[in-house]
Symmetry: C2
Subunit: 197 residues, 2 copies
Amino acid sequence: MAGSERGPRERMVFSAAQLIRRHGVDATGMRDVAAHAGAPRGSLQHYFPGGKEQLVGEALRWAGRYAADRVARFLAAMERPTPSGLFGAMVGQWTDEYERAGFAAGCPVAAATVDCAASSEATRKAAADAFAAWTRPVADALTGMGVPEARSEPLATLMISALEGAIVVARAERDVRALTTVARELGPLLDAAAPRA
Amino acid sequence: MAGSERGPRERMVFSAAQLIRRHGVDATGMRDVAAHAGAPRGSLQHYFPGGKEQLVGEALRWAGRYAADRVARFLAAMERPTPSGLFGAMVGQWTDEYERAGFAAGCPVAAATVDCAASSEATRKAAADAFAAWTRPVADALTGMGVPEARSEPLATLMISALEGAIVVARAERDVRALTTVARELGPLLDAAAPRA
DNA sequence: GAGCTACTATGACGACTGTCATAGCGAGGG
DNA sequence: CCCTCGCTATGACAGTCGTCATAGTAGCTC
C-alpha cells in the first residue's frame, strides 16, 4: 500500500485518498495533500486544474480500483473459494489494519459520500462509481461460486453495506467487535446461497 | 421531527444534528447552526461554552436518543413483532425519507465518526455512546422476540451496521436499492434466530 | 543558443472558520 | 431607582481554506 516510487501525480492522488480516509474531505486541505505526498505545492494546479473536486474524484476512482483489485487478490489466494471466505478476507483486511495501526482511518468512499453527497454532484457520482467498481467483482465472484445470478448482486451489496457500516461502528467504538460480528453472522447466510460450495 | 416550539438551546442542538446529517461536521459552521435554528448568534457561546465540540456532542446524544425512541415506537406499533419486521421498519424510515425528500441527509452519528474519529476523542466517544444507545433497545427487542441472549447483541450490531452502510451506498447512488436489498436479504436470517416468532 | 514545454516556486487574494471581548438589553428584586 | 442576571448583539482576531497570478527553472529540440 506504499506509493513513493511512482510519479508525483499518482502520489498526490494516493495521499489524497489516505488523508480523506482519516479526516474526511473537508478537513483535508490541498496543501496537506502536497505535503503528505512530498510533492511541490505548485504541482497541484498543474496536475489538477479542476481543483479539489478533480483531486477528490481521482482519489475515489483510485479507491474503487484498489478495492476491486483486493477482491481479485483474495480470490486468487483461496484454493477453494467460498462466499464466507471472501467476506472474511474483506473484513479481515480491516481488522488487521485496526489491530496493527489503530482506528485512525476509514473508507475514503464513505467519507466522501458523507461530506459531499449533498454538496458536490461530481463527487457524489465518483463515489457511486467507486461502489459500483467494488460491487461488480464481488458479485461476479459469488456467481463463480455457484450463487444464482439473480442473488449475486444483492448479496454483494449486502456484504459491502455491512462492511461499510461495521467500519464506522468499529471506528467509533475503537473496537473490531462490529467487524468480527458481521463476518461471523453473515458467513452462513452467504454460504447457504452457494449450493455447490 | 420538527423542533420550533422548544427553547433556543434545544433548537440549536436539533439544527446541528440536521446540518451534520447533510454536510458533515467540518462543513457545518456555528453561524449556520444559529441561523438554521433561528437563534441569535450570541447565544452560541452562552449555551455552549465548550464550543463546537460540545454542540456536536449534544447533537450526537440527541441522535442516539432519537434512534432509541424510534425503535420503541416501531415495536409499539407492531401487534406481533418479529426481527425482520423491526428491521424493515428501521430501513423503511430511511427509504421513506429518501423517496419523499431526496438523498440530501444521512446519519449524523456516521458523519461525526467519519469526520472526527481521528481528530476529536470527545466526539468519537459521543458517537460510540450514540451507537450504544441505539444498539441496546434493538438487542433488548430481539431478546423479547425469542432470540437467545447470546445472539441478540451481535444481531443488533449486524442490523445497525448493515443499515448504516446501506445508507451510505444509497446516498452515493441516489437510489434506495441498497436499503431495500439489505432489508430483504437479512430478514430471513433475523427471523431464523427467533424460534418462537 | 533560442525557443518551447513541462513543471516548480511563491506570494497574494477574498472568503470563510471558531473563538473571544465587549457592550447592550430587559425583566425581577431590593 | 439601582443593581444584578440571563440573554443578546456585534465587531474583531488569528488562522486556514481553495484558488489564482506571476515568475522561475530544467530539459528538450531545432
